[in-house]
Symmetry: C2
Subunit: 452 residues, 2 copies
């Protein structure tokens, strides 16, 4: 489907494995020779740390820099350990300041300091601008190299400035317009500059800028960049002075990483820092075990609830048959609500202040779902067992669905309010609180309907 002018991915992977096994440097180089940067990356990401360093060293110089730039920072740090000091400083100098900072975060302090000292003065200054912002702030991900013009400048002069910075600027397709005090006044696209007459003033064709403060959360800024469909998002300081730009490809990378993290956490595991096949088994275990323990400890609540109703169960063992089904349905209903609200929060469709609206909606949704499932449960369980059991199951489903949907819908909002990740915050609550509350509803309804 997707066209690459080469052998298939699997063929290359096989050849590469064979060449690595025999330590055949020339053969390794041959495998990479016909591949593009993206394919080279995909192959490298699947190798273990030692093989990756070995394979990387066979790449020609310019390709090596391109590949290095696009590796995850954690894999870059692995590579640095396997390369010669000289190779590293050369590649390091080629990175853009934001990529450099991401790598520095991954390296031991001694290596990091040596690398910074190896930079020329200008690059060192640019790097430390970016380094100055806290982790997770968009300032860390911005590029401090961009083209500036001024409102009273002419289109022709501005185009000259663009031409002078074709090599250095991170993006030349959106030009920042600032006043004498570096305050952001507008943006103008290269397309509009080319369309205008050279004597026109920039202020007559520039657009109102949207911008983000450098201390803002990077994920929020990246989503803003994506939603606004701009190639470049200006980053300003508290006084509205331009300090950098976030390009759409960096925004995309941020969103993809955030998506990986969210997907992992909402599945109850820490995100892996390396591609799956390149992650040691013990790291995978480490990423999962804490969550599993927390959830298992939370689940001891259900042991206690059932223990409290042990007499009821002894009188009617048949009640234990429905435990997994009932708490499963509660969990599913809660997850549905939490998933919907988490996503709506991420997209800005729902805000924390909408908490009451969300609650009312989810109570209604949960009650309707409970009515449908409860009626069905009443009929099926009533036929298969007896009418009184059917009544218990039906009423419990109604109660559990209403409770689960409303709790599930509120949890992400509560998570957001206490500044936790909504997806992460919801999961343990739903699988412990909703389970335990569901069991209590079940046994209370059972004891009163069955007269136990």
């Amino acid at each position: 489907m997707i066209k690459t002018p080469t052998t298939t991915f699997e063929q290359s992977a096989e050849q590469l494995a064979k060449s690595l096994a025999t330590n055949d440097i020339a053969a390794i180089a041959m495998v990479f020779h016909p591949l593009g940067t993206t394919e080279t990356l995909e192959q490298l990401e699947r190798l273990n740390t030692i093989d990756r360093a070995l394979a990387y060293r066979t790449l020609p110089k310019d390709r090596a820099v391109e590949v290095f730039e696009r590796l995850d920072a954690s894999l870059q740090a692995d590579l640095v350990a396997g390369l010669q000091e000289k190779d590293v400083s050369e590649v390091f100098a080629e990175l853009s300041p934001d990529d450099r900072v991401a790598l520095l975060d991954e390296l031991p302090a001694s290596v990091a300091n040596r690398l910074i000292l190896g930079l020329d003065e200008r690059q060192r200054a640019l790097t430390s601008t970016v380094l100055g912002y806290p982790q997770g702030a968009v300032g860390r991900y911005m590029s401090p190299e961009f083209v500036i013009t001024h409102p009273e400048m002419s289109v022709g002069e501005t185009l000259e400035r663009v031409r002078a910075q074709l090599d250095d600027a991170e993006s030349v397709y959106t030009i920042m317009v600032t006043d004498a005090g570096r305050c952001l006044k507008g943006v103008v696209s290269l397309r509009d500059l080319m369309r205008a007459e050279p004597v026109e003033r920039v202020q007559d064709i520039m657009k109102k800028p949207i911008s983000v403060e450098a201390t803002s959360d990077v994920e929020e800024a990246a989503r803003y960049c994506a939603d606004a469909k701009v190639l470049v998002l200006p980053i300003v300081d508290a006084e509205d002075r331009l300090v950098g730009i976030l390009t759409v490809d960096d925004a995309l990378q941020v969103l993809e990483d955030a998506e990986s993290e969210d997907a992992a956490r909402s599945g109850g595991t820490e995100p892996l820092r390396r591609p799956y096949l390149a992650t040691p088994v013990r790291s995978i275990v480490r990423a999962r075990v804490v969550w599993l323990l927390v959830l298992a400890l939370g689940a001891t609540l259900t042991v206690q609830v059932i223990g409290a109703f042990e007499a009821t169960l002894e009188a009617q063992v048949v009640l234990s048959l429905f435990i997994p089904l009932l708490i499963g349905t509660g969990g599913n209903t809660g997850n549905q609500a939490a998933t919907t609200i988490t996503r709506a929060l991420a997209l800005g469709d729902v805000r924390p202040r909408d908490v009451f609206k969300v609650f009312v909606r989810e109570v209604r949704v949960g009650a309707l779902l409970g009515l449908l499932l409860g009626t069905l449960g009443f009929v099926i369980a009533g036929l298969a067992f007896e009418v009184s059991i059917g009544l218990v199951i039906g009423l419990t489903l109604l109660g559990v669905c209403t409770m689960a949907a409303s709790i599930g819908g509120l949890m992400p909002l509560l998570g957001k309010a206490v500044r936790a990740d909504p997806a992460v915050f919801s999961n343990p609550f739903i699988s412990t609180f909703v389970d335990a509350a569901g069991l209590i509803i079940y046994f209370l309804i059972a004891t009163s309907v069955l007269g136990l």
Copy 2:
């Protein structure tokens, strides 16, 4: 944090609600007057269908087109119903062909046909090119308006072509290089063109193109565009002839929609077609009820398994205390594995052919997790109840975690192999099969250890 030169979101929303309640058109227009396109969109998305049409009509013409372009196709279709025929055809003519096709898919056939007939000939031809590809294919999302040059052309001539198409082309920052037969030969960036001498040939500065076939899955193509960090991805037909381009902002939109869909489905609900607060309660119920029913019906398997061991439970009611904890832990372990593998598949870190590698890894991960949790379970349950119960719980946790991780890891791969969505495919399997299998493991271990 994010700077907008206006009143806060909440203030605008409040004012808007007030003005809509009193049908005060002038006041509504006032609310939108200071807002940018993004803020206007955010406000409109929160309204119900009728209020949205009313509010939209107060926007000035050029702003209206901009806003319309960026609305979801389903909301566009809602709007069309509330607007005058003339307004609609004007806006429709302004849309780019790919956006036009997305809207057409949402409209009743009669409205769609009338709108197509209202287009001029060139736009009608461009629209039908895009309409010719199946839904879900990248051809549906591409733009057929782009700048073309040829390898033997000079840089100066190419820049002339760019200037001539500044108004029409979807992107002018990446220029397609084709031969006389429209076959894609390379791409050249406007930056490189500006850097080169006007007499240089395009073939000396063009880059090797990466491209995607028009019938390819759009999500795959969008991710490819994002991974390759290109502003524009060329789309070709089976004979490598250029037919369109996918721009990075359209790719971003595709990825965001796909993310919403995946998040919804892996949470066991159909994605909502409209923003949460703009979706009627009965639509939310409809999006959730089918999944809930399927999962509840699947869970009747657990009723049968427990029913088969009812005698065991009657002899030892204490065993029922641990049912939620054990199947919960199994479900969590399975979900962790499924989440990790689903994500690794999406990122291309794991391929369906790696199934055996994944299985071996997940068995090891599951066994290790089971060993840790099982030991803990043995100690705690042994102390709280008796040693034999502790042994049952410990061994069951070992067995359940190993089983759940391996099944959970395989499911997304199996889903991918049968061309189902890995996230959707895994969920019902894990919550029914893993639950039932876990219960069987539990009762078998219990009967043999306790000698029942």
